[in-house]
């Protein structure tokens, strides 16, 4: 019998990721059924009783008020989410469990057999109640949560910093909706989070929004058309272009985007402009 596989799950505010350690010592990120490595941490409920998780849930968000996102912000609190479609209140653990169960399912399909154990990461600043809630979510999803690990510790491990060398490192975690910076003291195989700070309202989405506003302004200047926010909705084509623009802008001096959402338009921007646009964030 092969070694037991334990899933490593990054249960994020905006997106979540599931991975496992292969026999060759390499970590494999498991793609979801759509082929993407990250899964939006979004759950939607329909009147028919159907539950939608991940990309599809995100894509139908504007049509369905019973769509829950960013539930991680409520973990550990007694606050419940009321869902009209099912006329039920759900704890944050129950919502998170649906995300975990979805990831467990596609991980099992990818690996080819049942998985029962998982390690889940949480922000270093999570208190006991938040950690317990995360563990509970895993249990509801049918997972035996063998360890809850601090996100910066997991990052340090991923970069192979689990040696006996004694040092202090800074872990910079810029996510979709949150930003965390932690200082870790590593030595003798132990990881101690000395300090953690950040902004849980700052993330990649904010950069996207700035670029979206700039695109809107450019369209207005060139055509006189007002592009409303819904047309620049997170899930729209324009957003996908922006995401690519953001990515490219870091790797090249010049970047192009082409909009075919509402008109034929081609624009280019520079790294300098991107930095200027985002200087106030």
């Amino acid at each position: 019998m092969a070694k037991e596989i334990i899933l490593g799950i990054d249960l994020g505010t905006t997106n979540s990721v599931v991975s496992y350690l292969q026999a060759d010592g390499k970590v494999k990120v498991i793609p979801n059924p759509e082929g993407t490595m990250t899964t939006p941490s979004v759950v939607a409920f329909k009147a028919s009783g159907e539950e939608i998780v991940g990309n599809a849930a995100k894509r139908q968000a504007v049509t369905n008020p019973d769509t829950v996102s960013s539930i991680k912000r409520k973990m550990g609190s007694a606050e419940k989410v009321h869902i009209n479609a099912t006329k039920k209140d759900y704890t944050p653990q129950e919502i998170s469990a649906k995300i975990l169960a979805y990831m467990k399912k596609y991980a099992e399909e990818n690996i080819g057999h049942k998985i029962e154990k998982a390690v889940i990461t949480v922000p270093a600043y999570f208190n006991d109640a938040q950690r317990q809630a995360t563990k509970d979510a895993g249990q509801i999803a049918g997972l035996d949560v063998v360890r809850i690990i601090n996100e910066p510790t997991a990052a340090a491990l991923a970069y192979g910093l689990d040696t006996n060398k004694s040092e202090k490192i800074l872990v910079y975690d810029l996510g979709g909706g949150t930003f965390d910076v932690s200082i870790l003291d590593i030595g003798d195989g132990t990881f101690e989070v000395i300090s953690t700070a950040g902004d849980n309202k700052l993330g990649g989405d904010d950069w996207d929004k700035v670029v979206a506003d700039w695109i809107k302004a450019q369209i207005k200047i060139e055509t006189g058309l007002d592009v409303n926010d819904k047309m620049l909705n997170k899930d729209s084509l324009m957003q996908q272009k922006k995401q690519r623009l953001n990515f490219q802008v870091h790797s090249q001096q010049q970047s192009h985007f082409h909009s075919s959402l509402c008109l034929a338009m081609d624009q280019s921007t520079s790294k300098q402009l991107f930095q200027e646009l985002n200087s106030k964030i």
């Binding site: 082929g35 894509r59 504007v62 769509t67 912000r73 606050e79 600043y125 950040g198 899930d235 959402l261």
Partner: protein, 179 residues
């Protein structure tokens, strides 16, 4: 205890230890063999997937061009010359589509009135329509799939039977962290 018995006991102990060692290494071997077999299968699967979806990035880069063709072909010809251009555009477009189809690309082009399907469509706006909720009202751009992977969803406007603005996110305010 005579010398012979002692010798026999020692031999028995050695046999027991060696049997245990053999069992241990046999298990280790089986485990390593199973691990390697699983790893080989996983690598082969990844390889197959990589080949199957190798064109994903390329197809994604082609989508603005396809969108351009779509827009051009929606134009109404106002002269014979323009009609000739549009006919040429359509010919080039169809050739391009047939090449993409051969690579496993399929277009997702919902019709107005179709049921909204979040697996292949992305709603950017809702419009009140009490009679037929959750239907496609307008298609902004077509979506594309490469085999069973969604390269881009079709961007649509959807009908709703709720007059109130539906919430799109369930974000809660929480204090800034400064631990």
């Amino acid at each position: 205890m005579d010398k012979e018995t002692k010798k026999e006991n020692k031999a028995q102990e050695q046999i027991a230890k060696l049997t245990s060692d053999v069992e241990h290494w046999k298990n280790e071997y089986y485990r390593a063999y199973a691990d390697m077999k699983n790893l080989r299968e996983a690598v082969e699967k990844d390889h197959r997937e990589a080949i199957k979806y190798r064109a994903a990035g390329f197809v994604e880069n082609l989508l603005p061009i396809l969108d351009g063709f779509h827009m051009a072909l929606q134009c109404k010809a106002t002269s014979q010359e323009m009609q000739n251009f549009l006919t040429g555009f359509e010919f080039i477009y169809r050739n391009m589509v047939s090449v993409l189809e051969a690579e496993g690309v399929t277009e997702i082009s919902p019709k107005v009135g179709d049921q909204f399907d979040p697996n292949t469509m992305s709603a950017i706006e809702t419009v009140y329509d009490e009679g037929k909720p959750n239907r496609v009202i307008k298609v902004n751009v077509c979506g594309y799939k490469l085999h069973d992977h969604l390269i881009r969803p079709s961007i649509v406007v959807v009908s709703t039977d709720k007059k109130d603005e539906p919430k799109s996110e369930n974000k809660e305010e929480s204090p800034k962290l400064d631990a």
